[in-house]
Structure formats: C-alpha cells, structure tokens
Amino acid sequence: MKLVRLLPALCGTTLAIFLSASSVSAHAFGARYDLPLPLEYYLAAAGAAVALSFVMMALAFDSRAVRAKGSWIDLLKYCPGRILAHPITVIVIKILSVGLFCLVLAAGFFGNQDPVKNFTPTFIWIIWWVGLAYIAALIGNFWPTINPWSNFMGGVERVARLFGWRGTLSFERAYPRWLGVWPAIVLFVLFAWFELIFEAAKTPATLATSILLYSGVTWAGMVIYGRDVWLSHGEAFSLAFGVFGRFAPIGGRLEDGDHSGADAASRQWGLRPYASALVTTIPCRISKTIFILVLLSTVTFDGFKETPIWSDLLQAIALAPFFHPLIRMIHDIGLDYFIFLETIVLVLFPILFVLVYLGFAWMTKWAAGCEKSVIEIAGLFIYSIVPIAIAYHLAHYLSYLITSGQLIIPLASDPFGMGWNIFGTAGYETNIGIIGAKFVWYTTGISIVAGHVIAVGVSHFIALRVFEPVRVALRSQYPLLVLMVGYTMVSLWILSQPIVGSPSLSTLRARADVVTMAPFEFRELCVALADKEKINVVFHSRQPIEYDIHYHDGFTIRFPVKLTDVTKHADQFIAETGRVYCLMWFNRSLEQTSLRYRIIGP
C-alpha cells in the first residue's frame, strides 16, 4: 500500500488536485482480484526464461529441417470437421452471430443501465474481447466466420441477389496501397483509449453507441473498397484476432507472406503445430509491423496502469509545482487531468515500442551484416515476439476471465436486467474461489516461460530460413534475444505488482482546516451530495485566491461555481442533482497564502 504510505507526506505539503477525477477501474469493466506473483515464482520464471534462451541458442537446428514445409493435417477430411464446416452449419453460425450482435445493441440501448445487470458490458469486455483472444490464440481464429459486420454485409448481399440484384454491394474502389493497414491502426488506438481510459465504456448505452459508430465506419469501408479489402486493412479486430490466431494450432494453410488478417475464412481448416504460422520469410509491410506493435503495447499498458509505480508517478506529476500551471490550464479548459495524462501515455507507449523494436531491428541487421533494410528486418521478425504477448495476456486475464466471466451465466437468462429468467440461471452467484492463487501463479510462470521459448524458437526458424550461412543466422539472433528477455521481464514484473486503482487523494480531507498554500498550489475537497442537498462553505484567504465547485461529467469538468480573486467567502451551495462535487482552491498569486475553511453540511 504505497498510496497509504504516501498520504501523510502529501497532506502536509502540496495538496491537490483532480485526483478524484478517475478512480478508474482496473480494466474497462469488472474487477480483478489477483494477488501479485510472489518473488519466488518471479525469480524462477525469469531464471528459466534466461537459461532456456541459452539452451535454444546452443541447439544447432538442422537448417534443412527448418526449411521443409510444415506439417498440416486437413481437418475437413474427417467427419466432425466436415459437419462443422458444412455450408448449412456455417450459415446457422453466421445468422447466430448477427443475432447476438443485435442482442448486444438492444440490451445496451434498452436494457438496465447498471453495468453488472446488463448483458452488453460483460459480453463485450470479458467474453468477446478477452475470451475470444484466448480462443484465437489457443484453439483457432474463428472471428472471420463469426464477424457480424462481415456476415451482415454478406447476408444483405444474399437477400439482394434473391431479388435479382447482380454484382456486389460495393463500389470496389481501388484501395490506395500507401494506406496499408493505417485505418486499422487508428481505429485500434481509439478502441484502446475507449477500453482502457474512458470510464463510461462500461455504461451499456455508451458502449452500444460506440459499437454502432464502429459498425458505421466498417460498413462504409466495406461499401467503398469491398468487403475483403476492408477486412484485411481497416477492420481492427480482424487484424488483431488474425495476429493472435497465427499462434493457434487450428487454421488455414497460410501461404508464406500472407499477412492478411482474414486468412481462415472457413475455406480451409487444418491442424498445424503451435506457432508455426508465425514463421514467415516474406516481411510484413511497415504499417502491419506497426499495427502489431500497437496491439502488443496496449496489452502491456493495460497491466502497467494498475501498478503502484504508475499510480505514484501520476501523483508525483500531479504534485510537482512545475506542472501546476499546466494542470490548471487543462482544468480551465474543462478536461479531466488524469484522462489527459493517461491519453498521452497511451499514445507514447506504442511510439516507444516502435522505436525500441526498430532499434533492435537495426542491431539485427548490423549483427547479420545483411543487405536488407531495417524496415524489412523489422517486418520479418515481428511475429516472433507475438508469443510473449500472448503468454502475458493469458496470465494477466486468467482469473479475470474465469471469475468475472461467470457474470455471463446470470446475464444470459436476464440480458436486459429486467428480472427475466429465460434459462433459469438468473440467480447464479459468482464463485470467487473457483481457481486459487497458486493455480494462477503456476499457470503464469509456465505460460510466460513457454511463450518466451516459443518466441526464441520462431525467431530462430525465421533467421535460418532467411540468412545464409547458419553462423550468420545465429549471429543475427543475439540482439533479438536481448529484446525478448527484456520484454519477458517487463511482463513478469507487471504480474508481480499488486493491483491498485488510480490514485484518489481528495477524499481524505478534514471538513475544516487551516492550510498554507504556496504559489500555484491547489487544494481540493470532494463531497457526495444528494439531490437538492445544501452545504455552507466559509473560507478566508490572506491573498486573493481562485475558488470553484466542479464535478466530473464523463471526461469533461463542469463548474456550477467559479470565482477569481476572493479573500472572503461565505455562501450556500445547493446540489442540482445527487452526485460528487469537488471544491477547489487555487493560489495563482506569487506569494504564499494561508487558507482557513469550513464546510457545514450534510
């Protein structure tokens, strides 16, 4: 509890701020109750990862075996596979997917707006986003088959054809080559911001509205450029699940260099060794490389923002006098300071990932002494770091998926939160003891080490296929090995940190006090008021001071009261509606002042 230790020091000196703004929950939705990975597990996994890296380096892979075509068993030759891939089964699945999509929207708009009583937040954030990523990585990427946007478009086309429409529902404009997968990158960053920073993302109606907006963009893209073109360039989730799906044992027989996301669109289903589809010899284009790095960086950011270090860092920045004018400016514009800060970091994280990765790609080029450009090298080895991200993702979300995911059981019976009981499961209560901490720790340790070893292996295979002779191929691996060890250690470190919420200091203040305030210093005090409830605020300051009463509305701040140059104040404040109001004083003068205040209220 670093936060608690910090508080006495903080209360005495500088006090701020907008810290009340966002006691942002751990993830977009739902709670995580994980214990931090203990030191012993942390050291054991880290040690094993490093030791096995050396073992992998020492293993002399037979380069001819590496070059041979990977084994692939056609699942459509067998009866269960044929039934599952039968056109009728596929059509039923596609209709169900569109039906589920409609349910998500309907529940979001018309259902109970309490996030835990509505089907939509649990289904989207836990089952679909976290759960489907698990399935895509561990079993196979079925997203191309169940993608409601693509299925809806296909369905409309089918119906149109019944009425004699010829051709497609798309203008089939030529997609500009320079655009690469940049539309997907932009959409994915917006999605990540929505998921990780925007507090209202768990509100059913907000979530449904956002889904509708994204649908609009997706259908527009499909209509302009054609369905498959947009799926492989602009539909962020097809690309994201496509990247995870390359790790999976079930999938299409990918041609070398096929970097599209929508690869396994039910035409081919086969069994292949884990991670084999990550080995490519034709480099990804730079935009695809950047997409993958953005995807990986947001996975890391999600964990990082729950660590005590992040919480302390936010506070340190918030409390540093140097930043006070800036914070004040953001406050005056009406933006939430914490959301502002987190947004900056969310944007910086992918940039940092790209720069570090390109740095290592440059070192790889240098170590191998090859003719290829840094961008080409980067595109060649980008898939090899994916297993580390998958391993981290599995470890990070395991108990969240299994514990918070149980919410879907009662919600399936009562999706609108209106007291229905369709399947008789509405009374189900979440069992928080379903998996123990030790099980989570062992799984974490094993998956992190396995992910690391597979990553090193994939990168080896790529090098042996691309570089000649073997000696050069091995030499190219040293920089990448350093990168992978570093990446694995960062993942492990995050898992070993206790989960804390974002900081909130403002609630810890006495109702009456005398405080000294340095130039540009803030004081804030928050009170929860009921509808039409009254409080009396009395204060006196030696220097003229700024004073306001504000509240947070989404990510903007509203000011029912805002005064400048006050030295004496005694007034009654009546709450417009029941919510949390924060009183703030700001010393904009260049001299120290003393503030004596008293709040008489509920």
């Binding site: 509890m1 608690v4 230790r5 508080l7 810290l19 009340s20 703004a21 966002s22 006691s23 942002v24 929950s25 709670a31 109750y33 994980d34 214990l35 931090p36 203990p38 012993e40 597990y41 050291l43 054991a44 040690g47 507090e199 939430d336 108990s399 069992n431 928080i432 003891g433 123990g436 901490a437 030790k438 720790w441 062992y442 206790p498 989960i499 804390v500 919420g501 909130s504 403002s506 609630t507 810890l508 203040r509 006495a510 005090l525 928050c526 009170v527 929860a528 509240y551 947070h552 949390v580 924060c582």
Partner: protein
C-alpha cells in the same frame, strides 16, 4: 523445481498467525482516522481458510464494502463494528468506503484484504 518448493512453503512460513487451529476467529483491529486506515499500515493479510474477524473503528460514520466477498458494514464514531470472514477464496480484495466524498466515480479504496494461499 527447488524454487517451486520454496514458493509453496514460504507463504506459510511468513505468516505464523495463520495457524489459529482452535476454531476461534482471529481478531484483526482496523482503525480509520481522518478517512484513512492507520492500522494495519499495509494491506490486511490473512491465509486461505482462516476465519477472521475484522473489528473496525472510525472517527466518522462510514459504510464499508469488501469486494469479492461482497460484505457491507456500517461503522459510527465510538461504535466499532465487526465483519467476520471465512477466507475460502484467495486474492486481493479492495475494501472501499461509501458515504464520504467519493472520487468522481466509483468509490474510494481504503485498503485491501489479501488472502494468501496455504
């Protein structure tokens, strides 16, 4: 492998109070002053399957909520109240306060209850 053995033994060795095998609940006193927990300083640490009684005192009226186990408790100044817990699930569970000026959204986390595996 040795590490895993140590890992299994270490948490038990670290928490000798864990062995309250006589069937009575271990009492942990938690004091709130000026809207923060003054003791115990860090998270409240207990062991899986332990039966504990959290005895709360506060200098201001407050409603507490232990997440996960989903228990609520009202504490008033001069009127301590108790929350008894059979620690069947491991994890790190926030204890939040309702009724005070909360943060802009959600609740204010006072401390955490950490249930460590045996």
């Amino acid at each position: 492998m040795a590490w895993f053995v140590i890992a299994t033994v270490a948490p038990i060795a670290l928490i000798p109070e864990a062995f309250s095998q006589d069937g009575t609940a271990r009492v942990i006193q938690v004091n709130i002053e000026k809207r923060k927990v003054v003791a115990p300083k860090r998270a409240i640490r207990i062991t899986e399957n332990e039966v504990v009684e959290l005895r709360w005192s506060s200098d201001e009226a407050v409603k507490l909520h232990l997440h996960g186990y989903d228990k609520e408790l009202k504490v008033r100044p001069g009127k301590p109240a108790s929350m008894s817990i059979k620690a069947r699930a491991t994890g790190r569970f926030p204890i939040t306060s309702h009724g005070w000026g909360q943060g802009g959204h959600g609740h204010h986390t006072l401390t955490y209850l950490e249930v460590h595996p045996r």
